[in-house]
């Protein structure tokens, strides 16, 4: 044994000693519950006593089968929640990213007076309790609320937002005369929903929640972009200016490529956060109208705590976990290829 490895070994031991408290806390409150939930998702535990006690049986993939392939109500509910959240994510992530980048550019530019004020103002929704903002939203988007009032000035008849289960894409298709499902779409489907149901788009109620999420999260994302913009330095912009590049060209070919790592962070955080949406649903709509705002996280909670189907609830959580991991990896691969 050489002297060098002895030192290294000592260092390793000390290192573990120092992180031991953190590892113990994380293990006890994070890893252990996750492992227990994983066990619950393979068991017939019904919520009484410990899931590790002797009378809880192993049921293999039964819980996963119920939500993924059984053809029953549990599968249809899960399919509905995936559809809703899919549209939610597809709209929220780009909206909040573009909004955040726009706000960051605005607040970063030296032309704007009172930048500190605007920075605080834009960040404010992010630090306010999401429950409070959801309640505010319920008022704003009520039938006689401010939003419909403003739409009224424009001569538009606003919908009854949080009570309207009609899908936006279905409404658009209805506008061009496609009212009923073509038989090719109505006859087949996936996860208990016909393809026509998958094509419904977000419901009007979900659109209100999408606006809510974009409003609340863009402040945090803006902060990330501001930090990155400050790190770029003015000389690069000035170099572009000397070369005669227009404002748009400098933004498109200089700023944007340099923001790529931050863009990845923002998109990833947005993706993960929006797939896990729960509190707005729990406090705002409870999944209604007509289940068009049910999300996997809410469905998991509902299955476990209301219906005492703890195995299915845990299974939903793990399928959601897999979806998020796969999408994050895919996104990472995509952003890397572009360079």
């Amino acid at each position: 044994v050489t002297r060098r490895t002895t030192i290294a070994r000592g260092r390793t031991r000390d290192g573990w000693l120092f992180v031991a408290p953190a590892v113990a806390v994380l293990g006890l409150f994070l890893l252990l519950p996750v492992l227990m939930a994983l066990w619950v998702s393979f068991s017939d535990w019904r919520g009484r006593g410990s899931p590790l006690s002797g009378d809880v049986g192993f049921v293999g993939l039964d819980n996963y089968r119920a939500i993924l392939s059984d053809g029953g109500l549990a599968e249809r509910d899960f399919g509905t929640s995936i559809r809703n959240t899919f549209y939610y994510v597809v709209l929220v992530v780009p909206l909040q990213t573009v909004l955040a980048l726009g706000l960051a550019m605005l607040v970063h530019s030296r032309i704007l007076r009172g930048r500190g004020f605007f920075r605080t103002a834009f960040y404010f929704p992010s630090v306010t309790s999401s429950v409070a903002i959801t309640v505010l939203w319920l008022f704003l988007f009520s039938t006689t609320g401010s939003v419909n009032e403003v739409l009224g000035w424009l001569g538009l008849n606003g919908p009854n937002w949080f009570q309207d289960p009609r899908g936006v894409l279905h409404l658009l298709l209805g506008g061009i005369g496609v009212d009923d499902a073509p038989s090719s779409l109505a006859g087949h489907g996936f996860l208990g929903l016909t393809w026509w149901d998958w094509l419904s788009g977000p419901s009007v109620a979900l659109v209100a929640l999408i606006l809510l999420a974009s409003f609340t999260t863009s402040g945090t994302m803006m902060l990330l972009f501001i930090a990155a913009l400050n790190g770029i330095g003015e000389e690069i912009d000035e170099a572009g200016l000397v070369d005669g590049a227009s404002t748009w060209q400098r933004f498109r070919h200089l700023t944007l490529p340099l923001l790529r790592p931050t863009m990845f962070t923002v998109l990833t955080l947005g993706l993960i956060g929006s797939w896990q949406v729960f509190d707005q649903i729990y406090t705002g709509t409870q999944g209604g109208p007509a289940k068009t705002t049910v999300t996997p996280a809410y469905l998991s909670f509902h299955a476990a705590f209301e219906s005492q189907q703890w195995g299915q609830g845990a299974a939903i959580a793990f399928v959601l976990f897999v979806i998020i991991v796969v999408l994050t990896l895919a996104q990472r691969a995509l952003l890397r290829d572009n360079t």
Binding site: R46, G47, R48, S50, G72, S142, N160, P289, Q308
Partner: protein, 416 residues
């Protein structure tokens, strides 16, 4: 600086984790035997989902009075989310001793063995309405004592009624009359009949047509019958005529709100509407009638809660005695007076009707009311039914019923 990660540390870490897991397992299985540490001290805990201060105070007073008589300490806690707090209690083997249970939640708690079946041991078991005993009976076992109940009635706005030129003689007793008066009450600002978009309102028309969600034993779904189709088609017809509408289409959260805001001249609600009316819409004068009879006679739905006792309670005897005292006719009349619920024992009905004659139609409904299905998994089917009912006006009643028939039958099959 680069510090190599010792290869040996990884198995060590794994071992530590496994150790922690094993410890946790021991810890939780250890509590299995002593059956709830909190309750073994002899003090009873009562967890309620309260509608407000009036209910909380009344329950606290009643429990305190029992404590004084029996010498057993008892504490009342108000849950912020009853289902969630109960679940935590059951999972940790330390549930409250006595708590509210809704018919929706009953089957789930029975299935996981959390509920102590004490119904038949009660001294006053025979006093309850048979209908309510049915609601809390699973596989011939009467689990828990009905706390109180409600039925649906037709709530009518007096002012709008008179403005439309209608008199007491016009109160509808048949579907045709309901349709006709709703038409007379409908004008530019007001729709004749407004109610919440859910089975718990629309479903009241099923028994009026002779239909039901399941057969009497709850083994077969009977959703897609001609009777139910007739009922649903009638509701759809009124909506298409514009004389009936969902509260959601009127911009209200529930039927009571649409009624209070005078967007609807009539609504279908239970006696709980009294609280909302006196708190939020004290100026709206209203009266209550029995729901009109359909082709098969009168029909309505009954809703109820019971006093559940935990199987893991360390003090079941005292808990049963507490429930007995909470369900005496005198105590129930006191609750009725305090927060407007209807007594679950038949002996108190006459006195209740005397004290609040305007609610007599709700009491009358108890004789012919139908219980919503409460088998395991039925709650999910109902919420799916509700989702489909939201599209009733432009939907196909037959398709809705046959879809619910399939899911309800699947739930009933899984339950057996």
């Amino acid at each position: 600086m680069k510090i190599p990660l010792g290869r040996r540390s990884i198995p060590a870490l794994g071992l530590a984790m496994a150790g922690a897991l094993a410890l946790a397992a021991c810890g939780s299985s250890g509590t299995d035997d002593d059956g709830g540490s909190g309750s073994s001290s002899g003090k009873l805990t009562v967890l309620i989902g309260s509608s407000g201060d009036a209910e909380t105070d009344a329950v606290k007073q009643a429990v305190a009075a029992w404590s004084e008589d029996s010498g057993v300490d008892a504490e009342v806690t108000v849950a912020s989310d009853l289902a969630q707090q109960l679940s935590q209690g059951f999972a940790s083997n330390n549930p409250p001793d006595v708590f509210y249970v809704s018919t929706d939640a009953l089957a789930g708690y029975v299935a996981n063995g959390s509920l102590y079946a004490y119904g038949d041991d009660l001294d006053n078991a025979g006093d309850f309405y048979p209908n309510l005993v049915d609601a809390f009976t699973v596989d011939d076992t009467f689990y828990c004592a009905p706390k109180d109940f409600s039925t649906l009635g037709l709530v009518i706005n007096k002012t709008l009624w008179e403005q439309a030129g209608l008199t007491d003689a016009d109160v509808p007793t048949t579907w045709d009359q309901l349709d006709a008066v709703a038409g007379k009450l409908t004008n530019g600002h007001v729709v004749g009949l407004g109610f919440s978009p859910e089975y718990a309102r629309v479903g009241a028309f099923f028994p009026q047509a002779g239909g039901a969600m399941t057969n009497d034993d709850g083994t077969e779904a009977t959703v897609d019958t001609d009777e139910n189709l007739e009922a649903l088609t009638f509701v759809q017809k009124m909506m298409k005529e514009g004389v009936a509408a969902y509260s959601s289409d009127l911009g209200a959260d529930w039927g009571g709100e649409a009624f209070g805001k005078q967007q609807a001249a009539m609504t279908i609600e239970g006696n709980w509407i009294a609280g909302a009316m006196s708190n939020d819409y004290p100026d709206v004068a209203y009266t209550v009638a029995e729901l009109p009879a359909g082709p098969a006679g009168k029909g309505t739905l009954a809703f109820t809660n019971c006093w559940g006792i935990a199987e893991d309670s360390g003090n079941k005897e005292d808990a049963v005695s507490l429930v007995e005292s909470l369900t005496t006719p005198e105590q129930q009349l006191a609750f009725a007076q305090a927060f407007g619920v209807m007594p679950s024992v038949e002996t108190a009905a006459a006195q209740y009707a005397q004290a609040s004659p305007e609610f007599e139609p709700f009491i009358a409904g108890a004789d012919y009311a139908q219980n919503p299905p409460a088998e395991q998994g039925a709650a999910d089917v109902i919420s799916d039914f509700n989702a489909q009912l939201e599209g009733l006006k432009d939907g196909d009643p037959e398709a809705i019923l046959s879809s619910v028939q399939g899911t309800l039958q699947a739930a009933l099959d899984a339950d057996q």
